[in-house]
C-alpha cells in the first residue's frame, strides 16, 4: 500500500494505492494520524481510487480515524471506490458515518 498526501484548505487528502487490509491498516493509521497532527487539518478525505481490495481490517483503519476526527468536530469522506469496494462499504454500514462521493471535486464542493 502506498499513501500520497495533499492539503486542500482544512482537509487532508490521502490517496491510497494497493490493498487496505490487516497488513496495511497499521501504517494507514500511523501515517494518517501523523499527517493530520503535523498539518493541523480538521477533515479527512480518503481517495480509494487506487485501491483494489478492502476488508474489515481496512474499514477499521478508516473508521478509527473517523472516531478521532469526529470527536474534534471534523468530517471524513471517501471518494473513488470501485463497485466491489462500494459494496463492502455499504454492507458494513460505514456509509452511516462517512460520506461516499464519486470524486474529490464533488466531495470538496459538498463540504462547502
Amino acid at each position: 500500500m502506498k499513501l500520497d498526501f495533499e492539503v486542500s484548505g482544512d482537509t487532508l487528502v490521502v490517496r491510497v494505492r494497493g490493498d487496505l487490509d490487516l497488513v496495511s491498516a497499521e501504517s494507514f493509521r500511523r501515517e494518517v494520524d501523523r499527517q493530520m497532527n503535523e498539518r493541523g487539518t480538521q477533515n479527512l478525505l480518503v481517495n480509494l481510487g487506487g485501491v483494489d481490495f478492502l476488508d474489515s481490517a481496512g474499514l477499521g483503519a478508516i473508521l478509527g480515524r473517523y472516531k478521532r476526527i469526529n470527536a474534534r468536530g471534523g468530517r471524513v469522506a471517501i471518494v473513488g471506490a470501485n463497485p466491489s469496494i462500494r459494496r463492502v462499504l455499504e454492507i458494513s454500514g460505514v456509509t452511516g458515518y462517512v460520506g461516499l462521493y464519486r470524486d474529490e471535486t464533488s466531495a470538496v464542493l459538498d463540504s462547502e
Binding site: 490493498d19 474489515s56 481490517a57 472516531k67 466491489s84
Partner: protein, 151 residues
Amino acid sequence: MEAGALNRMVLEFPSRAENVGLARIAVATFAAQCEFTLSDLEEIKVVVSEAVTNSIVHGYGEDPRGMIRIIAQIFPDRLEVTVEDGGRGIEDVEAAVRPKEILPGERLGVGFMFIKAFTDDFSVYSRPGEGTRVTMVRYVKKVAVQSAQCN
C-alpha cells in the same frame, strides 16, 4: 480428496498479517477454475481475508507461531473453503456470528457479517482452547474443470 470433489487445494502458513493477501489470492486463483464472475471472485477474496484475519487476530492474538490451514475444494456445483486454526477458539459462536451494528473504532468485529453476506452458506465450529474452523460455501452455475483432470 473428498468424494465428489473435482479439485482440492491445501495451504498452510503461519499466523502473520503478511499472509492474508497470499491466502485470498491463492483461493481466488483456485476459484477461478469455476465460472465465477470477477465480482464473485472479489467477494470470495473478502470472505477468505475475513476468516484468516479472525484466525490471526482473535485465534492467535497475532502470535506468528500459530498455524492456519486452508482447504479449498471444487465440487460440480460449488466451491467450499475451510479456514482452520488451533488458536484460543470462540466461547460463544452464536454471539460471534450474530449481526451487529457497526460502531466507529479500530476493530469493528464485522468479519462474520461479510462472510454471511458473501457466501451461500457457512458454518463455524469452535471450542475454547482448541481452535476454530470456518467452512464457507459458494455455489457456481457451471464448473470449468473436468473431473478427469483431478484424478
